[in-house]
C-alpha cells in the first residue's frame, strides 16, 4: 500500500496502540534547553525516576544567555539560575550538554542538525515549538510541553494520536531575491496561522527540492506558525550530503546501512493526503509581515491592508488591534515604513547561508543613520566560527552591524537584547506577536537579505531591485 513519508516514520515508531486510536511512540532524540526543562527534571526527582535512555538526550542553553561579554557570565540572577539549573540537571542525570563555554553551544534547533544529532527517519522532540525545524531531514519532529519533556525523559515515549496529513506542493523556480523564508511566510499568508492545526505538513515540489538544507530548515521551522505540529521534507541527495560526516552521524558500514534505509523516506507515488495544496513558486515575492500574527503578511511591493477587505468581523477587529499596536495606518506602502532596529539570527535564519545572504547585501554599504541597532547573532558557535573564517563578521561590522555571540537573543528578548516600547524592528525570526521582542516592540518578519537591506536603507525595500 502506498504510504506517506509521515506514515512510514510513524509506523516505525509505534510501541503499542491503544483502543482509543492513540499510540505510544518511541522517541529517538530528545533535545533539551534551559527554559522548559527545570520543572521536568524536578518532576523526575520528586517521583524518584531516572531518564530511560539518557544518551538520547542532548542539551544546550540558548534562550537567555548573553550575546556579549560572555566571559563575564550572566548578569541577570534569574537567567543565571535557570542556566545553572540546566548544567546541574545534566550533571545529575548524565545528559550531554554543550554549555555556554562550548563552541558547539547554540540555538537548540541549529545545534542539533549541525552535530548530526538529527537524522532522517528519527522521531525528534524538544520542549520548544520550533522543533518542527528538524522535519527538514525527513524526520518526525515535534514540539512538546514540559509535562511531555518529563514523560519522554522517564519513558522514552510519547502518547500521540495520528494527525491528519497535508501536502503543500510548491512547484517551479523560486524567483530571484526570494528565499525559503518568503516561501514560508507566503504559505502562512495563504492558509492562515491556524491553517495547519491538526495536520502534519509535508512540503514537496521542485521549488522545495531545490532548497538547501538550511532553506528546508527555515521552511519547516515556520510550519508551527501555520499551526501544524510538524513540517517535513523527503530525504534526497541534499539531505544525505548534509548529514554525512557530522559528529553524531553514523560512519563506515553503519552509514551504508543507514543511508540505504533513509533513501526510502519519501511519500510513495499516488498516495493520498487528507489535504493537498499546490502553489506555484512564481507567485512568491519578498514578504513582510505588517501585523501581530505571521499570517498578517504582504508582498514588499504592497501596502498595509484596508479593513474593508477583512473576511469577517473577528478578523477585522484583529486587524484593527494590530494597526494600533503596530502604529500603522491602513494602505501605508510597506516600503514607506521606517525601522529602528534590525535583528538577523534565530533558529529560523541564524545559519551560515542566512548570514551569507545578509552579508551579500551589507558588503560595501553602511547602515542608515536612523537605525539604532543592527544585530547579527549567529545560530551557534560553529556558525559564528564559519562566518568569521569567511570574513562575514568584518563585512557586517564595517557596515555598522554588531556581531554577537550565539543564542536566541532578540528573537524573544529573554536576555538583554530587546526592543523598547514603540521601536520597530525588521527581524529574521519567526514570531511577530505583541511584546515578543520586548514589551511594546513592533516586529516585522522578513528574510535575511530583506532585513539587511532594511538596515542599509533605514526602511523596507524590495531586495530584488538591489545588486
Amino acid at each position: 500500500m502506498a504510504k506517506t513519508l509521515f506514515d512510514k516514520i510513524w509506523e516505525q515508531h509505534v510501541v503499542s496502540e491503544h483502543d482509543d486510536g492513540s499510540a505510544l511512540l518511541y522517541i529517538d532524540r530528545h533535545l533539551v534547553h534551559e527554559v522548559t526543562s527545570p520543572q521536568a527534571f524536578e518532576g523526575l526527582r520528586m517521583s524518584g525516576r531516572r531518564p530511560w535512555r539518557a544518551a538520547s538526550a542532548v542539551a544546550t542553553p540558548d534562550h537567555n544567555i548573553p550575546t556579549v561579554d560572555r566571559e563575564r557570565g550572566i548578569e541577570d540572577p534569574v537567567s543565571r539560575l535557570q542556566v545553572e539549573t540546566l548544567d546541574a540537571n545534566c550533571r545529575e542525570f548524565g545528559i550531554t550538554e554543550f554549555g555556554m563555554d562550548d563552541q558547539r553551544q547554540g540555538v537548540v534547533h541549529v545545534m542539533g542538525p549541525e552535530q548530526g544529532l538529527t537524522l532522517p527517519g528519527m522521531t525528534v522532540v524538544c520542549g520548544d515549538s520550533h522543533t518542527s525545524t528538524h522535519g527538514a531531514f525527513g524526520a518526525m519532529a515535534m514540539g512538546i510541553g514540559t509535562s511531555e519533556v518529563e514523560h519522554v525523559l522517564a519513558t522514552q515515549c510519547l502518547i500521540q494520536k495520528k494527525p491528519n496529513q497535508m501536502r503543500i506542493v510548491v512547484d517551479g523556480v523560486l524567483p530571484h531575491g526570494c528565499t525559503a523564508k518568503d516561501m514560508a511566510l507566503f504559505i502562512i499568508g495563504r492558509i492562515g496561522s491556524a491553517g495547519g492545526t491538526g495536520f502534519a505538513i509535508e512540503f514537496a515540489g521542485s521549488a522545495v527540492r531545490n532548497l538547501s538544507m538550511e532553506g528546508r530548515m527555515t521552511l519547516c521551522n515556520m510550519a508551527i506558525e501555520a499551526g501544524a505540529r510538524t513540517g517535513m521534507v523527503a530525504v534526497d541527495d541534499v539531505t544525505i550530503d548534509y548529514v554525512r560526516g557530522r559528529p553524531y552521524a553514523p560512519a563506515g558500514e553503519m552509514w551504508e546501512h543507514a543511508e540505504a534505509d533513509w533513501r526510502n523516506l519519501h511519500s510513495d507515488d499516488g498516495v493520498a493526503f487528507d489535504a493537498e495544496l499546490p502553489l506555484p513558486a512564481s507567485d512568491i515575492t519578498p514578504q513582510v509581515t505588517w501585523g501581530t500574527s505571521p499570517e498578517m503578511v504582504v508582498p514588499v511591493t504592497d501596502s498595509v491592508p484596508n479593513p474593508e477587505y477583512a473576511r469577517d468581523e473577528v478578523q477585522k477587529s484583529g486587524w484593527q488591534r494590530a494597526f494600533e499596536y503596530m502604529g500603522l495606518k491602513p494602505d501605508t506602502p510597506i516600503t514607506g515604513i521606517e525601522v529602528d532596529k534590525v535583528f538577523i539570527g534565530s533558529c529560523t535564519n541564524g545559519r551560515i547561508e542566512d548570514l551569507r545572504a545578509a552579508a551579500g547585501i551589507a558588503r560595501g554599504r553602511k547602515v542608515a543613520p536612523n537605525i539604532r541597532l543592527a544585530l547579527v547573532v549567529p545560530g551557534s558557535g560553529l556558525v559564528k566560527a564559519q562566518a568569521e573564517a569567511e570574513g562575514l563578521d568584518s563585512i557586517f561590522t564595517e557596515a555598522g552591524f554588531e556581531w554577537r555571540d550565539p543564542g536566541c537573543s532578540m528573537c524573544l528578548a529573554m536576555n538583554a537584547d530587546r526592543l523598547e516600547a514603540g521601536e520597530r524592528c525588521a527581524s529574521t525570526s519567526n514570531r511577530n506577536f505583541e511584546g515578543r521582542q520586548g514589551q511594546g516592540g513592533r516586529t516585522h518578519l522578513v528574510s535575511p537579505a530583506m532585513a539587511a537591506a532594511a538596515a542599509i536603507a533605514g526602511h523596507f525595500v524590495d531586495v530584488r531591485e538591489w545588486k
Binding site: 510501541v15 483502543d19 482509543d20 505510544l24 518511541y26 529517538d28 527554559v35 522548559t36 527545570p38 520543572q39 524536578e42 517521583s47 525516576r49 535512555r53 544518551a55 534569574v78 537567567s79 535557570q82 539549573t85 537524522l119 520548544d128 515549538s129 522543533t131 514540539g143 512538546i144 510541553g145 514540559t146 509535562s147 511531555e148 518529563e150 514523560h151 522517564a154 519513558t155 522514552q156 515515549c157 502518547i159 496561522s193 491556524a194 492545526t197 491538526g198 499551526g227 501544524a228 505540529r229 553524531y248 553514523p250 552509514w255 534505509d261 500574527s293 473577528v314 477587529s317 484583529g318 488591534r321 524573544l412 528578548a413 529573554m414 514570531r431 506577536f433 505583541e434 511584546g435 514589551q439
Partner: protein, 212 residues
C-alpha cells in the same frame, strides 16, 4: 494532577482571536524554575500598565482598568471564553500553569493551537471546542452580569443558565486521564516490557539510532 469532573463557574469573555502564549504569559516569567506562582502575571502586558518582572509584587501595580480580569464582575472567574486559535505560539507549559494558577479550570473556544491544547490536559484544565456560532452566542449571553456555565466532563456537556445543554467532543483517553487526575507517566510505565521489546528490535534494525 487535579481531577476534573463538574465545574460550575463564572465566565470571563476574552474577545480576541489568536491569543498567543506570549500574551498569556510574557517571556520574562519563563525564567522561573517552578510550576506555580504565575497567576499574578497571567496576561501581564494587558493587565498592568507597567512592565512586569518576575518576583514583582502585583498588588500595587498600575492596572489597565479596561482589561476584563480587572473588572469587579469577573473576579473569581474559572471559565475563560475565547476565540479562534487560542494558545498559539510556543510550547511553554507556563501558559496553562498561569491560567491554572490564576483560577481558570476550563477554556471554551472555537479552536486551540495543538500544543497548548495538549498541555492543558496535563495540568487539569479542560479545553472545550464549540462551534463558531455557539461561541458567538455565548459571548452575547455573557454580557449579562454574573453569567455562569456548568461544564460536565463525564457527560461532555456545557449547560447555560437557561438550561440549554451543549454537547462537546473529547478524546477518550484524555477524558479518562482528566476525570481520574491520572499521571500518564505511571500509565506508560505499565508498558515497560513493550518498550524494552521495541528497543531490542530497533537496536538490530536501526543500530545508528543507539550509537550516539
Amino acid at each position: 494532577m487535579q481531577a476534573f469532573n463538574v465545574l460550575k463557574g463564572l465566565v470571563a469573555p476574552l474577545d480576541r482571536a489568536n491569543v498567543d502564549t506570549d500574551a498569556i504569559i510574557p517571556k520574562q516569567f519563563l525564567k522561573s524554575i517552578k510550576r506555580t506562582g504565575y497567576g499574578p502575571y497571567l496576561f501581564d502586558e494587558w493587565r498592568y500598565m507597567d512592565q512586569g518582572e518576575p518576583g514583582m509584587d502585583c498588588t500595587n501595580r498600575p492596572r489597565n482598568e479596561g482589561f476584563l480580569l480587572n473588572q469587579a464582575r469577573f473576579q473569581g472567574a474559572s471559565i475563560l471564553l475565547a476565540r479562534e486559535n487560542f494558545g498559539c505560539g510556543s510550547s511553554r507549559e507556563h501558559a496553562p500553569w498561569a491560567l491554572l494558577d490564576y483560577g481558570f479550570r476550563c477554556i471554551i473556544a472555537p479552536g486551540f493551537a495543538d500544543i497548548f491544547y495538549n498541555n492543558c490536559f496535563k495540568n487539569g484544565i479542560l479545553p472545550v471546542i464549540l462551534a463558531d456560532e455557539t461561541v458567538d452566542r455565548l459571548f452575547a449571553e455573557c454580557e449579562v452580569e454574573g453569567y455562569r456555565l456548568k461544564v460536565d466532563l463525564d457527560a461532555q456537556s456545557v449547560t447555560t443558565p437557561s438550561g440549554e445543554q451543549i454537547a462537546f467532543n473529547i478524546d477518550g483517553f484524555r477524558k479518562h486521564c482528566l476525570l481520574g487526575g491520572l499521571d500518564d507517566i505511571a500509565l506508560t510505565l505499565q508498558e515497560t516490557d513493550q518498550i524494552r521489546a521495541y528497543e531490542k528490535e530497533r537496536r538490530i534494525s536501526a543500530p545508528w539510532l543507539f550509537s550516539g
